[in-house]
């Protein structure tokens, strides 16, 4: 079914009168979706498009994401689909390049007429695809990047950020670190926009939790030489280390730290299994690695154990963070859509905005004030690892309201308020 593009003027006319989403106080009137018309409507199939990196530097996460997405679609069709409609899933490879991610998202809207978009992308690409959703009036759920400014700044009512913000993770991690190990913290973060956000949030939350930052280290994103920083850590001799690298930087640092015999506990802001596995299983015998995370297979809800067993039986491996995020964030959106009456873009947006309920990892609700999903956080430790599997254990569970900035705290900062 080929969807002809409505001109911008028609879309503005349509949404202008629609009462659902009125935008006040936004700097430019770019808030409403424009460009081609929204997706959805028409025949009896509910289409979900996923744009995620399959090739390129992050392709190590691709299997987890694809397997989880396919399982989700099958599960929903087994349960009777969305609003009784069969669910059809489409996924596209973003090749870790913004120009490709944007065109693939646009193609999903133009050629496949998807009713909803989900993304699992890097910081470079996600801004562009969220923009595609906003302009075309297609509800878009991002499952990966935590960059705080993603939704607020663009006042894009069609976008929903499922992953926690850097601030939420920092709050959970800082509280955990200070209780478990003490107040003196050394911060080591990547030197680019997102890295600075991580550092600022952790510093603030560490101080709120009664800790002090003894020293800060910076290295550029692709850094692979941490010897100068390891030396600085030895001098500072902190209680624990706040570490903000996710990619090959994490591998390089953990190897270097192990090599120079530093066994100070490390709190990784984000730890994707395929990446930290790169440091080799022996690293985890000597160094204690923790991470404030939103998902680990060790979460002991009944639905999660069922998901973990089925995932392991189908793929032969335990679901990693990427699989958990992909599955449960899109599941939440599908549950919201199932509860809505109709699949028009604005009906879906209002359904998702107010949805709360249970997903595989337990309690989950979407906040209408800033389109941010909220759910409990966990402090997970790496017990051990073998060549292709990381074994987590949940140390603490932290309820959402303890870590998530409240609505007025956030909306005060946001340029546009979404009623």
């Amino acid at each position: 079914m080929v969807r002809e593009g409505l001109s911008r003027r028609d879309v503005l006319a349509a949404t202008g009168t629609g009462a659902v989403v009125g935008l006040a106080g936004c700097s430019s009137d770019s808030g409403n979706g424009n460009g081609n018309g929204g997706g959805g409507g028409g025949d009896d199939v509910f289409r979900v498009g996923l744009v995620a990196f399959q090739s390129g530097p992050y392709s190590a996460f691709a299997p987890d994401i694809q397997d989880a997405f396919e399982m989700l679609i099958d599960d929903w069709n087994d349960m009777g689909g969305v609003q009784g409609m069969e669910v059809e899933g489409f996924n596209r490879d973003s090749e870790a390049a913004p120009e490709t991610a944007i065109q693939r998202a646009q193609e999903l809207i133009d050629s496949e007429g998807v009713d909803m978009l989900a993304t699992f992308l890097s910081t470079d690409e996600d801004g562009g695809v969220m923009n595609v959703g906003g302009r075309n009036g297609v509800p878009t759920v991002t499952c990966a990047t935590g960059a705080r400014l993603l939704v607020d700044e663009q006042c894009n009512p069609y976008s929903f950020r499922a992953p926690t913000s850097t601030l939420t993770k920092a709050k959970a991690g800082a509280a955990g670190g200070v209780d478990l190990f003490g107040e003196e913290v050394f911060q080591l973060n990547p030197d680019y926009s997102w890295g600075h956000e991580i550092q600022e949030d952790w510093e603030r939350t560490i101080e709120e939790a009664g800790g002090t930052v003894v020293d800060q280290g910076w290295a550029e994103l692709g850094a692979s030489d941490f010897s100068t920083h390891v030396g600085a850590i030895q001098d500072a001799d902190p209680d624990w280390i706040q570490f903000g690298f996710a990619g090959s930087g994490a591998v390089a640092f953990m190897t270097e730290a192990q090599q120079t015999g530093i066994d100070i506990p490390q709190f990784h802001h984000v730890a994707y299994e395929p990446t930290i596995l790169g440091a080799g299983s022996s690293v985890f015998d000597e160094t204690r690695v923790y991470t404030p995370t939103e998902y680990t297979y060790d979460i002991d809800t009944e639905a999660n154990q069922d998901f973990v067993d089925r995932f392991e039986s189908e793929t032969g491996r335990l679901p990693g963070l990427a699989a958990g995020q992909a599955y449960r964030h899109i599941e939440a959106a599908l549950r919201a859509a199932d509860g809505a009456d109709g699949t028009g873009p604005d009906t879906l947006v209002s359904a998702i905005r107010e949805w709360s309920g249970e997903v595989i990892s337990g309690e989950y609700n979407m906040r209408s004030c800033d389109h941010q999903a909220s759910y409990p956080m966990y402090i997970a430790e790496v017990d051990s690892a073998d060549d292709d599997q990381i074994y987590w254990s949940v140390e603490e569970t932290i309820p959402a309201d303890e870590v998530l900035a409240s609505c007025d705290e956030v909306t005060g900062r946001m340029e546009c308020s979404v009623e």
């Binding site: 530097p57 190590a60 030197d191 010897s227 030396g231 090959s248 591998v251 090599q259 080799g280 022996s282």
Partner: protein
């Protein structure tokens, strides 16, 4: 970009020692790789854009062998053989047909080769970053006058020094080295003396590639392996070769160490600009001496 408030704290003696130490060890990696590129260019006028991938191929070949045998020496030998083989195959298959053509075509064809090699690594080994465990006898660290130095980096500096000197001696003193250099000067004359010049070219290309491969396997334990490691290093290698003076051996050694040290000091004192330092250094050198610090005037500027 605000400076971290404790920069002053860091400008202490151990900061300088630390900066020098890691700067020289990383610099040695740059020297080894750039020496390979300069060797090929200096003698054959060919710049190999896929030189970074040979660096990566060496690292991955070493990684596979180390996984099988667990012996680091075997891994290094494997890297050398892999590098030499791929380099030789490249010269015979895609560089040789282009000798009579414009040098820019050789650069263009090696750009295609770089794309192929990156994809092949991803197909054969896989896309995710891999660790290269540090061999036991080289792990741990030594305390000297109060400063701790990782033994592996010391090994790196020593090994790098030996390898670079060996290459220089081979080219300037050994019989075969002299024949190769003569072959460049006057191909017909050397051919008439019964040496197969084509074999000399294949050998040079292989040797240059082997040096990149050695650098790759030596650095792997520190930085780990990922398919794009070659693409990231080649840009820095170009800067080293441009600053040192293309085709000049002495230039590569000085420029490689200089940039290694500058970048590591940058990481300590001016982290927000660390990545840009090599490029700023390069622009300064080019404006001052277009042929680079030790480049031969006229080869590339007149």
């Amino acid at each position: 970009m605000v400076l971290p408030h404790n920069t002053l704290l860091q400008i202490s003696v151990d900061g300088i020692v630390q900066g020098l130490y890691s700067g020289i060890s990383f610099g040695m990696i740059l020297v080894l790789t750039a020496a390979g590129l300069t060797l090929i260019f200096g003698l054959m006028g060919v710049v190999n854009f896929a030189h970074g991938e040979l660096y990566a191929a060496g690292a991955y070949a070493g990684f596979v062998l180390f996984g099988v045998t667990g012996n680091f020496a075997v891994a290094v030998v494997a890297a050398v053989i892999a590098g030499f083989a791929i380099g030789a195959i490249m010269e015979v298959s895609i560089i040789r047909p282009l000798y009579d053509r414009e040098p820019l075509y050789q650069l263009a064809v090696t750009f295609g080769a770089a794309i192929i090699l990156i994809e092949l690594i991803e197909v054969i080994i896989g896309p995710q970053s891999q660790p290269f465990p540090i061999p036991d006898l080289l792990s741990g660290s030594i305390a000297v006058a109060g400063y701790t130095f990782g033994t592996y980096r010391i090994f790196l500096i020593v090994a790098g020094g030996i390898l670079v000197t060996a290459l220089w001696l081979f080219l300037t003193k050994s019989k075969y080295g002299l024949i190769i250099r003569a072959a460049i000067f006057d191909t017909e004359m050397v051919e008439s003396m019964g040496y197969d010049v084509n074999r000399a070219y294949t050998f040079i290309f292989g040797l240059g590639a082997a040096y990149a491969a050695i650098a790759g396997v030596l650095v792997a334990p520190l930085f780990g392996l990922f398919p794009e490691m070659g693409a990231e290093i080649i840009i820095l290698i170009f800067v080293v070769v441009v600053v040192g003076g293309l085709g000049s051996f002495k230039g590569v050694i000085v420029a490689g160490l200089l940039i290694g040290i500058a970048q590591s000091f940058g990481q300590i004192y001016v982290p927000w600009a660390a990545e840009a330092i090599p490029f700023v250094l390069m622009v300064a050198v080019i404006l001052y001496r277009p042929q680079g610090l030790f480049g031969v005037e006229g080869v590339f500027t007149e």
